[in-house]
Assembly symmetry: C2
Homo-oligomer: 285 residues x 2
């Protein structure tokens, strides 16, 4: 079985590492705009060979699109065009609506599976890839009924085998929920990083003063702009609404502080404490 | 040497555990509004005995105020009143200006040392205390010249011996910097937690969908309202300004997203990426 990884970064690379451990007879082909990424992925044992996209697709049983989501939009139609009849193309993009809308317009839609592994770190590139990234995490599949049964089965089998838990929803549900539980977290971290950097132009003051509270909240501000700008753009309606909601809570809290309304301030935080139960649910997984 | 810990929570408890390991002949007296906290602290070996404040202070060599900062304001004058001549009272509060202003008005100011250990977790109470909390972290001492040399020496010796690194600044500098590098992080997490909870009234959706990105950003939303409400209130001017700055960055980013200005969106995030270097500095410590 030939599996082509398009975009051998954190996600594509980690997927390959997890799958190849279970499927040692599969052949992994890497396609990446960056020659350096290809070299590193070869040397790290993520892929068995590197080749250009147009050579890889026609010989693939499974094509995995693990590039930024704008690149997915650019590449997907062409990939479907040249994809062999029994083969499947899978995307791992962090947005789903734009990608699914595009795929729906293609005559070979049934050979496409729309997925999103809920996993990542703030690092990028094949150097960041590691086998343990995906196992134990959740995979979301959207519009599964629009994929051919065999294509869906292939994808489900692989991801279940590497230890992921599968969830199904529409692309609209996916993008709405992710705006709140993921995209907003990243934006809040970027903005927090900027706010602190702007104020503490002397970075030494930050070094001296920050405790791990700061580190964890702002960790996501290390994330790749090239990955996230297309995500926020494709999911702009939901992200914009999530931001509006978030800003409103912040303004409300600011008002409580300005008014010295300690009692309601306590309530505000006590309600947020409910997240403890939620997080314990997540951490138990 | 008798050391009284007033408020045997995460901080007071962890301080006692770290110090008693190095100073096995010291006697630790616990004072806490909660009888349960006293019982737990005794059973856990954090303190050697529990007693009311008015009994503890007159027999102490060092009194450590590790309560919420509003309680510190309430208790400090009375403690200074009854503190023996050669003894020292130390506070560990997360704000410094209000506390120092109050202390400055007391005739026995020189027996007071204003400090703040930059360390914590989102947990509270003696059950949360652990010996390794403070070692390796930073301690800030404010207005050191207003403390008697022996009082300062006692505090510095203890904290250095348990492995903390000492920094000195004015209470004003402390409160300003902390508004940005600490207090704002906590507020952003509280608000993020509320925004997500409000939207995802079905908590299961959050369980299913969140990845560790969400967990780390919102972890601080588990923090104690009783601890944080007084901090935000005492430091309200700086905190309000920090919030205003943060909200502005968020609104700016929202505008870039609404305008589909991907190029400036990339810039915005690239500037925030500078925090990577800052965080690596923190993590190396």
């Amino acid at each position: 079985m030939n599996i082509s990884i398009i975009g051998i970064g954190l996600l594509g690379g980690s997927f390959a590492l997890a799958v190849r451990e279970k499927y040692p007879k599969a052949r992994f082909i890497g396609v990446d705009a960056s020659q350096v990424h290809g070299q590193l992925a070869l040397a790290k044992g993520i892929i068995d060979e590197a080749m250009p996209l147009e050579q890889a697709v026609p010989i693939s049983d499974l094509v995995v699109l693990a590039t930024p989501v704008n690149t997915i939009l650019t590449l997907l139609p062409g990939i479907l065009n040249t994809l062999p009849e029994q083969a499947t193309v899978l995307d791992l993009g962090s947005t789903k609506e734009s990608i699914c809308t595009l795929a729906d317009a293609h005559p070979k839609r049934r050979q496409f599976v729309a997925a999103h592994p809920m996993a990542g770190t703030e690092n990028s590139g094949p150097g960041a890839a590691f086998r343990e990234l995906l196992p134990g995490k959740n995979l979301i599949i959207c519009d599964r009924e629009k994929s051919a049964p065999d294509s869906l089965k292939l994808v489900e089998a692989l991801f279940l085998d590497i230890g992921m838990k599968l969830f199904y929803m529409t692309p609209q549900e996916h993008d709405l929920h992710l705006a709140y539980v993921s995209h907003l977290s990243h934006i809040s971290a970027f903005a927090l990083g900027l706010t602190v950097l702007e104020k503490e132009k002397d970075e030494q003051a930050i070094f001296d003063m920050a405790s791990t509270g700061f580190s964890s909240t702002v960790r996501l501000a290390k994330s790749s702009p090239q990955m996230w700008a297309p995500i926020f753009d494709q999911n702009r309606e939901n992200v914009s609404q999530a931001l509006a909601d978030y800003i409103e809570f912040l303004q409300r809290f600011k008002t409580l502080i300005d008014d010295r309304d300690v009692s309601n301030s306590l309530d505000f935080m006590a309600r947020a404490n409910v997240i403890r139960r939620v997080l314990e649910g997540i951490e138990k997984r």
